[in-house]
């Protein structure tokens, strides 16, 4: 009887957990494929100008992934035709991590425009900045918090 009770308890926990996780997955998938959300498709070249007056809006943007942060996979950068115009994409509660395998792939991102708070670095550290992590090339002021993305071309 005791064993039966313990086994039943474990079964209930596992079942509840699997249901909970399954719900999460379906939420993300439906976000990724929903077509009725009204959002604008931008290019990395036009993004910064557009973002100035559109913080908080949902947009779609397409570009090639040129860098994924390999410390935690919490951000990536995409470019279009002009490699100088990089756009920072960050994770959110909908997309938790970016895999480094995305580098070199063309992706379509759906997300919310956010302002970037520039980090105040000590003068001595400025020369050591890694371009991939600090956007040394052009210092953008806005990024996109990724709600969903899909790979268009591997």
């Amino acid at each position: 009887m005791k064993k039966f009770t313990v086994l039943s308890f474990i079964t209930i926990i596992l079942f509840s957990a699997s249901t909970l996780f399954a719900q999460d997955k379906s939420t993300v998938t439906s976000t990724a494929v929903s077509a009725d959300l009204k959002s604008m498709v931008l290019s990395p070249e036009t993004f910064q100008d557009f973002a100035v007056n559109n913080v908080g809006k949902e947009v779609e943007i397409k570009g090639m992934v040129v860098h994924v942060c390999k410390h935690g996979g919490k951000k990536l950068f995409i470019i279009g035709e002009d490699p100088e115009k990089r756009v920072k994409i960050t994770t959110s509660d909908k997309v938790s991590v970016f895999e480094p395998e995305l580098e070199g792939s063309t992706i379509m991102v759906k997300g919310i425009i956010e302002p970037i708070a520039e980090e105040e670095l000590p003068e001595a550290e400025k020369s050591n900045q890694d371009a991939d992590h600090t956007n040394y090339y052009h210092v953008p002021q806005f990024s996109i918090s990724c709600m969903a993305f899909k790979t268009i071309e591997e």
């Binding site: 040129v66 935690g72 490699p83 792939s105």
Partner: protein, 187 residues
């Protein structure tokens, strides 16, 4: 009937200790790893190797995929080609399956970077970063359980080694240490 609170504290402390053993290890191991992220990449193993190819010369701003693959053939990576672009006029970055290469087009010297996932730590870190709403619930429950574990832990032992004796001093020490850090760095 008098409530035997100390007995219940012991039972709760014991069983919570068992239940949350695994998740405690998840957060403590990944906590150490993430604390030292600048010194050691606990998510990926990155191996870099210097490479030299035949000087590509004036190929900026355009180079065909076939030409890039020809360059990669020199280092045995032609089958891993994914994509490429020019970060700067004299730099060609080539994305490969499992890594990338960056080549100075004027000298032919470059760097090949191979990235592989670091097992175990990567999974721990993934959980530490609160990947899903469901995990936020679990980690909230864990946080609550830690509070209960801490409180019940105070009253497990009676006598001179308990909270009225040595336990009081050790508890005080554990409060003073973060207090000192706050005084020095926060206020």
């Amino acid at each position: 009937m008098q409530l035997q609170w100390r007995k219940w504290f012991r039972v709760v402390h014991r069983d919570f200790g068992y239940i949350f053993f695994g998740i405690t290890l998840v957060y403590s191991i990944s906590g150490i790893a993430l604390n030292h992220l600048d010194d050691w990449n606990s998510n990926y193993i990155i191996v870099r190797k210097e490479i030299t190819v035949k000087k590509p010369g004036q190929i900026y701003p355009a180079i065909t995929r076939a030409e890039v693959k020809a360059l990669l053939k020199e280092i045995g990576e032609e089958d891993n080609y994914k994509n490429h672009y020019f970060p700067q006029s004299d730099q060609l970055k080539i994305f490969l399956k499992g890594g990338s290469a960056i080549i100075n087009t004027e000298t032919g010297i470059g760097l090949l970077e191979r990235t592989t996932r670091r097992p175990f730590f990567r999974e721990m870190n993934y959980l530490h970063y609160n990947p899903q709403v469901s995990w936020t619930w679990i980690s909230d429950i864990f946080a609550g359980a830690l509070i209960i574990l801490a409180i019940t832990g105070l009253f497990l032992v009676r006598g001179t080694k308990g909270i009225t004796g040595r336990g009081a001093w050790l508890t005080l020490l554990g409060i003073i240490i973060p207090g000192i850090i706050l005084l020095i760095f926060f206020y």
